[in-house]
Symmetry: C2
């Protein structure tokens, strides 16, 4: 039987912790040279947009798995992705996941692992810039790895930030307050999540208090980046989940030709070292690029644990 799960099966908050442990495993496997995670592969489908494949897995060891996530950049209103997993020893298809939730869960979990290894242990306040699905799963992941009590959310659209605060406050059982400027979301926060599609900076370095961890998932290209270049200069440690992907984008990374480009560390090494990378007052910066292979390990862990979904006969 092949298990198939959809977005409807992936709503439970308990899946966040499962996703974070799966991504932590991916980073340990990467540090050990066991993770297959090539840069993503884009195929232009005429004027309609691209089909994009992130392929990866772990082929050695006791728990081999291989697969991919496919997503589209079509202009339509839907974002319907497909994740497929195989057991590379037998060739058997293990399962399929459709929809956008798994990708968002996994990107959130990458941020969660970065927070676990780069943010203050006692981080209690999170500032969130952005109010989309990715902002939600980033905040869920932060709350899963740190004792978060309070979040502040800024989004250009007032209705969106109010809705985000209401929904996430109830979902996480913490206080979430909408604020009227991005600066208000930042100045008191121990962790700042930037999850926008903005190509103009929404975060300035001067707003950050000492000890803040900045976690960014939005655009980070030269000429189109959601955080100011000075944020990197202010950070004692800068890490990314995939230096390979960072260098493989069609557009250069936003720190190209700055002294900070050379300081960027591979998060997998911080995970493997597993010791504090920071002094309490240090600012740290994580630049998420979406390490390939992580969605495969997250899907595998979730397919094992998810009670719902359907089984199809071969």
């Amino acid at each position: 039987m092949v298990k198939v799960v959809t977005d409807r099966d992936l709503q439970d908050l308990s899946l966040t912790a499962i996703a974070i442990e799966a991504v932590e495993r991916a980073f340990r496997e990467k540090a050990a040279g066991m993770l297959v995670s090539p840069p993503r592969h884009c195929v232009a489908m005429g004027d309609a947009g691209d089909l994009v494949f992130t392929v990866g897995g772990v082929t050695g060891g006791a728990q081999p798995v291989a697969g991919f996530r496919a997503y589209t950049t079509f202009n339509g209103e839907r974002d319907e992705q497909v994740v497929a997993l195989w057991n590379p020893s037998s060739g058997a298809l293990i399962g399929l996941v459709t929809g956008a939730r798994l990708g968002a869960l996994r990107t959130g979990a990458i941020g969660g692992v970065a927070i676990r290894h780069m943010a203050r242990d006692d981080a209690r306040i999170v500032g969130v810039i952005g109010s989309g699905e990715q902002a939600k799963t980033q905040l869920e992941a932060a709350a899963a790895v740190r004792p978060i009590r309070h979040a502040l959310v800024y989004s250009r659209n007032e209705a969106n930030r109010i809705r985000f605060a209401d929904e996430m406050g109830r979902r996480l059982g913490i206080s979430v307050r909408p604020v009227e400027t991005s600066r208000q979301a930042v100045t008191e926060s121990d962790i700042v999540i930037c999850a926008t599609s903005s190509t103009l900076p929404v975060l300035e370095a001067s707003w950050l208090k000492p000890g803040t961890h900045v976690n960014t998932v939005g655009p980070k290209f030269v000429g189109a980046h959601e955080i100011a270049v000075e944020v990197a200069a202010a950070a004692r440690t800068i890490a990314t989940d995939s230096p390979e992907q960072m260098l493989a984008y069609a557009r250069p990374f936003f720190l190209t030709d700055t002294p900070d480009m050379r300081r960027i560390r591979d998060l997998c090494l911080l995970v493997a070292e597993n010791r504090p990378v920071r002094r309490q007052e240090d600012i740290t910066l994580f630049c998420s690029t979406g390490l390939a292979g992580t969605e495969v390990l997250v899907a595998e862990a979730i397919l094992q644990r998810c009670a719902s979904g359907i089984e199809i006969e071969r």
Copy 2:
């Protein structure tokens, strides 16, 4: 709802004709410059083997569709593929197909279109070399486009050729006879299908009678090819379904550095011309490479017509 079909849903012989019409459409779209069909993309998964993607579709016109087939070269006994289709206008996932049957149906249908445009109208006898799944779907496709009365099958393994003859005779309602040499399968045949994994020639040019169409789906690389180079020299017309794929293989095509390499025509142009490419006594040769995008159009046509399968909620 997203429709999911598996091998169990794709056994009916009536699907062969549907697949052939879908592939014929793919060739017409290709000739019109509307088919997206880049060479396949392989990702090595450590020592386990490769994950291979053939991506494609038609993004303009009244019936846009985009998607891919993913298959593996893992060493395990299973061949469990995934085909996924999107409507590129809305971004909606249309359906998923799992298993190996769709790929075999589509490769058979490519051969069927080649037979329709390259074999004698009155072809009645088919010689089949090989007895695997691909040999079966090639023969099914031949019988769908020509008035086939009789088939001769050769396979090195006697039990396999007897089983093939028994099964396919019943399935197609024609006489199918196992023979003891590949030559016996060839000398009287109007159409010769080579569907082996042999890297040594199983077909010699001197065995072919005038007017025969040769249709090959197995290896065709320099130093590893299932038909003799002289078969190409004997052919008045040589065509392939994807010159792009033929040139994109890691290993050179078996006719490289022969005068015949320059004579190879794109099957899509024969389809678009739709007039006889042969005199009755001509030998013709089709070299199948597996045009990308065809699986997407075949899957789309089959998902529309297939009565079984399941629907999953988004």
